[in-house]
Each structure stands twice: as C-alpha cells, then as structure tokens.
Symmetry: C2
Amino acid sequence: MKNLNIQIEVNPELYSKNPDSSELGRKIITNSIELMNEIGFESFTFKKLGLRIKSPESSIYRYFDNKHTLLLYLTSWYWAWTEYQLVFATSNISSSQEKLIRSIEILTKPVLIDNSISYVNEVLLCQIIFSESLKAYYTKNVDEENKKGCFKAYKSVVQRVSDMILEIKADFKYPHMLISTVIEGAHQQKYFAEHLPALTDLSKTKDSITQFYTELVFSLLK
Amino acid sequence: MKNLNIQIEVNPELYSKNPDSSELGRKIITNSIELMNEIGFESFTFKKLGLRIKSPESSIYRYFDNKHTLLLYLTSWYWAWTEYQLVFATSNISSSQEKLIRSIEILTKPVLIDNSISYVNEVLLCQIIFSESLKAYYTKNVDEENKKGCFKAYKSVVQRVSDMILEIKADFKYPHMLISTVIEGAHQQKYFAEHLPALTDLSKTKDSITQFYTELVFSLLK
DNA sequence: TCAATTATAATAGTATTGCTATCGTTATGG
DNA sequence: CCATAACGATAGCAATACTATTATAATTGA
C-alpha cells in the first residue's frame, strides 16, 4: 500500500471540476481538510478557505457547488481509499476469520500515518470522517444524493465486509447491519472517549475499540 | 406512564427563559418540533418559526440563544422523558435479564403513540432525535457544553442501563460502550432503512432492529 | 387598585453567509 | 501564435443570524 500512489476515483457527481486535475484543485483539497479540522464543518466557509489559499471564493465554487458537496467528496475519497486498504490487507489470506479480523481492524482504528505522497493528509482526513462525516448523510437531500451515487464508495466497503461475514456464517441475517453498526460505532466511541467519556469505557488513548468490536462481531457469529 | 402528565425538567443552561413558563414558550416548542421535522435542522430558522407562530424572531431569541441550543433542549427533554419511561418499565421487575430486555426495547423502538397531553408531540420529537440529534453533540463546542451539563440526561440514561448490564455480568468491561453503541446504532439503522438501505438488512417497515440489538447484547454477555 | 415590573410585538439595522455574474488577465496546448 | 480554458478581482444580492429600540399589553404584588 504505502508507496503505490494509487489514484483514488471519486464519483464525478461530487464535483463540478475535478480537483485532482489542477494545482488549485489540489490546494483546495489539502487546505479544506486542514481548515475543516481546525474550525469544524459548521464554521468552515469557502470565503475562509479562499483567504487561506489566497484565491477568491468564486474560484472554489468552480470546483464544488457548496461545502456540503465538498464534504461528500472527502468522505467518498476516504471510503474509496479504505476499500483499497481492505483489498490489500485481505489478499492472499485464505482464512475467512482472519480476513474479517483484519478488516475490522482497518474499519475501527483511526489512521495514524500519512503516506505523504498525495496531497491528501489521510490522518487529518480520518479525523474529519470521525467527527464530521455523519453530516454528509443526515440531511434532507439524502435520497436524491443517494440516487446519484454519492454514497457508493461507503456502501461498497460495507458490502465487501458483509460478504466476509457470510463466508463465515452463510445464514446470518444481518451482515450489513452488523458492519455498519461496527463502523459507525467505532467512530462514535472514539469521539465519545475524547468528548463525552461518560458514554464509553475508554481511557483517552487506549485502543480497545477494535478489541471490543471484534469480540462483538465474533460472539454474534458463534 | 400514559396519563401522569409528568413534568420533564430540562437543564436551565439550555434556555434563557423557560419555555414551559409561558404560552409563547410552549408554542415555540410545539411548533419547532413540527417545523424541524418538516424542513430539517439545516433549513430551520427562527425567522421561519416566527412566521409560523406569528411572533417576531426577537421574541424567540428571548427563550433560546440560537437554534443549536434549541436542539440541545429538545434532545435533553427527550432523554429525561425516556428515563422516566425506563424507570416505569423496569420497576417491580426482579429479573435483571427482563429489565434489560425491556430497556433495550425502549431504547431501540421509535415512539409511535403521542400521549397528547403535553405540548410536546413525542412521536415527532422521536423522529427529530433519530435524524437530527447527532448534530447536537458533533460540534466544536461539545466540551464546553458538556461541562455545563447539557448532556446530563443522555448520560444518565446510559448509566442506568449500564448498571443493569453489570447486574447480569459484574465483570463486564464495556457496559457504557455497549449501550451507547446500541442506542446510536438503533437510531442509525432506522435512518439507513429509510434512506440508505444498502447499509442495513431491513425491509422498510420491519422492526427487527430491537431483535438484532437484543441478540447482540445478550450474545456478548454470555 | 394602581404602580411597577415583565412579556411581547413591531420595526430597524448590521455583519456574515452563501452564493452568482462580469470581465480582464494569465496559462497552455494544439 | 491563436484559441480557449482557468483564474483573479471585484461587485452585488438575498438570506441568515443575530442585536437594539421602543411601544404596548399583561401580571402581580403592596
């Protein structure tokens, strides 16, 4: 994985002009990830981003319709990237159990190393996913956006891991439900540990999240 | 429960003037629940609410600092109300198992009957909780608001059910984590079933959510 | 019961947000 | 070296998210 510099493809519905195609576009992505991390999605505006990259807002609007679409783009990028990771981590492994274990680890552990090759800082992006990505699909436009395929990358990841579950227990009724519960749950528990510790049982740094969800999955599949 | 007309207490940090104390205040609550359901939290403004109740926005600002605080108020109300439900549903029941089963049912099933006594429509409020309440704590002010006790009611519910888990399995390490996973998971699965069905395994109307999370909990506690 | 407080309505105003439009200049690539 | 796309600079506009002021109505408490 590390140095392959894989091209991540994002659904063209999510941009007006492909940010990957120009210097300015890549600058927009790099800096929006940083800025969103610093001030949060609500306070983030194209004006502030424009100031940061010394370009007028109107130039940013040429790439993305609005900040919501930009968030959709970032989440879509993240899930496409995660799917690559899943494929790599599970290739050439025969044991279904082992594949599932590794997948859960990828899905529940925050990214800690930025490969620094692309203009995307994966560590920061991961933090955005954990604390902002819910806002990408809890809106009144979900259905419309879903139809356009805006969530395809996420669904593809869920599907892939669901298939592993069925390899282990073919008659299990709720593979998608279980995996989306694990993914979203792990993200939330990380957030809770940092901000609402009464809702979890984690000391701030400990990464027993992966352990918890792994146990949860396998105890249910027994 | 039904006809007791219990007074729900909400943390005074969450309002400037108690909406429960005046006709206008109650009108604000009733109508904000309806309006937020209709147009969603993002599109909801005090101006629109003011038009609906035929009062100027400035009057609404006397009760709530902004729409975010109003959302916090509504979620807090919901959790306080849910805690009453939990207490009633589990009183006079000796079996810890049975108490937990009933609690999970309350936490994972959407409210379907409005008791129609108070000015709060619990069915609609429940829908807001399911699709908007995440936005109440995924903000850059969480820590500050948490300190002021804005999430006390939610935490109290989680604590109460965690205690039941420990009654069943005293050495279980992650009771809070498990319960918050169940609560948030159930809400999300309901939302997914309606809008992103690829992330779940539910036919739109079926309420196997409760069944799934009950199994999940008890298989982990075995 | 009347003065004093409080609640609300009506209105105005301001800074910021979330865009759209225009136009001149710079790249760039065929 | 010309055509066209990309970008910067600037303007402007409607909506949002408030704050402030004043007048009137309601309440209440001495």
